[in-house]
């Protein structure tokens, strides 16, 4: 076991001017073969490797990452965590994830700064109000905390909001999940990486995958920039590039990859201590611990692999944010970026076996994958280790696009996907 992070290790290292901290994880050369190879070193992939080692005793695991850890969507999202999904299957999956979030910093011995500051979803018209009430009731029946807020309650929590929304986006109510909140996204990847490494998982960065070796319908290895690496099982969890990876294994997916953008403002004093999301506008806003306002926008409507968002989307989102929060009109934005999200026709993920034996896929999280990171890794590890879906992800199979049993979270998931 590596040295634990604690107040004592902090003091001890202060004596050596913080120059002797041990590395958080190794950077080994790949072994010739592994029991399981996870392609994709984001939060989901690293969590999968960690749970494979910790809960299923499979330590001979490699995580292969094209770039650097958490450099894709893990480091590009707006860090919102919630579980107020409409349908039973989704509620079970995301609630499982939320429960793992609640103990994550202790379990990983890494401060992921999970802050349960509450997540609010606004209603701007009568139809929104009905949908919202329906979702709140569904959430409560599934044991997910959710409550209705009147406009006055919203104003008390978020004084800077204009309830009239300049007449264009009047605020008529909101759903509130108090256990929801935000987390430090990089720390999630690093925390899982450190713990997985401790359990014997090899994390191999800057190693693009070029193809998969498949013999008699069974995967036997992965072709990478560092040569062929043999594997008994392969799990692919690469978000935006899932279709590209699956095609190498001869599998077609129902995904469409879009750039999803976000932006942060200059840092200011605390003005908003919860998360406000609006389905109708597809804008969400929270304030980071540094004081920056973190604003999430919508997706570009066309297929795109360029990690940047188009300016019309930025403009539309900011216009709506300014109408809801007039005092932010003169705020300056510091950074804007995009991540490639793999959206599914039913806005639910695919965590599934595939027609290729030993080849598993975890994709289709679309615009909402970050919140699911621990739960996604947990069920994917279970699926890979036991070669069958866990009851929590049985409904999220690739097979559902043939059978028609879709888990349609479009618009129902509290925010448009």
């Amino acid at each position: 076991m590596k040295s634990r992070y604690s107040i004592f290790s902090l003091m001890r290292n202060a004596l050596s001017y913080h120059e002797k901290w041990p590395e958080a994880w190794r950077s080994p050369e790949p072994k010739p073969s592994y029991d399981v190879i996870i392609v994709g070193g984001g939060g989901h992939g690293l969590a999968t490797a960690y749970y494979l080692a910790k809960l299923h005793g499979i330590h001979n695991v490699a995580v292969i990452e094209r770039g650097w850890l958490g450099g894709g969507n893990t480091g590009r999202n707006t860090t919102i965590v919630r579980s107020n999904y409409l349908w039973d299957e989704s509620a079970a999956l995301y609630e499982h994830a939320l429960k793992l979030w609640e103990g994550m910093s202790q379990e990983l011995n890494y401060n992921v700064m999970f802050s349960q500051r509450g997540v609010m979803n606004l209603a701007h018209n009568q139809h929104d109000l009905r949908e919202l009430s329906r979702r709140i009731n569904a959430n409560r029946l599934n044991g997910v905390d959710s409550e209705f807020l009147t406009p006055q309650q919203i104003k008390d929590l978020v004084p800077i909001i204009d309830l009239r929304g300049n007449g264009r986006y009047p605020v008529l109510g909101a759903s509130m999940q108090r256990r929801g909140g935000t987390a430090r996204h990089d720390a999630v990847a690093w925390g899982y990486a450190r713990r997985a490494d401790e359990q014997g998982v090899d994390i191999i960065q800057e190693c693009p995958v070029h193809g998969f070796e498949i013999e008699n319908g069974k995967v036997v290895g992965v072709q990478t920039a560092k040569g062929l690496i043999k594997a008994k099982k392969v799990g692919v969890v690469v978000a935006g590039h899932s279709s590209v990876m699956a095609e190498m294994a001869g599998i077609r997916l129902p995904l469409v990859s879009h750039p999803l953008q976000a932006l942060v403002s200059e840092p200011v004093k605390p003005v908003i201590d919860t998360v406000v999301m609006s389905n109708a506008i597809h804008a969400y806003i929270s304030q980071s611990d540094k004081g920056e306002l973190v604003i999430g926008a919508g997706v570009d409507k066309y297929v795109g692999y360029g990690q940047r968002g188009s300016l019309p989307v930025t403009e539309e989102t900011l216009a709506a944010v300014c109408e809801l929060f007039p005092s932010l009109k003169r705020m300056r934005m510091m950074r804007q970026w995009g991540g490639i999200v793999d959206t599914c026709p039913d806005a639910s993920p695919i965590i599934s076996k595939t027609p290729v034996e030993g080849f598993f896929i975890n994709c289709g999280w679309g615009t909402g994958g970050f919140k699911a990171t621990p739960g996604s890794g947990w069920v994917f590890a279970d699926t890979i280790a036991n070669d069958r879906p866990h009851p929590l992800n049985e409904a999220f199979s690739l097979e559902r696009f043939n059978s028609g049993y879709l888990v349609d979270e479009h618009g129902a998931a509290a925010v448009a996907h």
């Binding site: 590039h241 590209v244 469409v256 066309y302 696009f401």
Partner: protein
């Protein structure tokens, strides 16, 4: 911001257009005898290409006509615009994904 050269109206900004997804997907002719897998493939699966992608657009705020576009989904460069029903033009396809 994309500038799309509508074959009927000329170059306009992307905000005037709506997106129609992948082009050249044909409804299966022998639909009564399709398996669930074949239906699933037709209804849901798509190529989601990284590189040159053939897609449909409609000029919603203009002539309201549909047409096809060949666009690089990494650089977003529009390589060709052609009418619905026409065969895609010959292009140098990128392989460096």
């Amino acid at each position: 911001m994309l500038e799309i050269n509508c074959p009927y109206c000329g170059p306009r900004f992307e905000t005037e257009f709506s997106y129609g997804g992948e082009a050249h997907i044909e409804r299966p002719k022998d639909s009564e005898n399709l398996t669930d897998e074949q239906w699933g493939d037709y209804v849901f699966m798509n190529s989601n290409t990284k590189g040159v992608f053939l897609e449909r657009w409609v000029h919603t705020s203009g002539c309201r006509r549909w047409f096809n576009v060949a666009r690089d989904t990494v650089s977003y460069q529009i390589l060709a615009v052609y009418e619905t029903g026409a065969k895609p033009p010959k292009l140098d396809l990128r392989n460096d994904v």
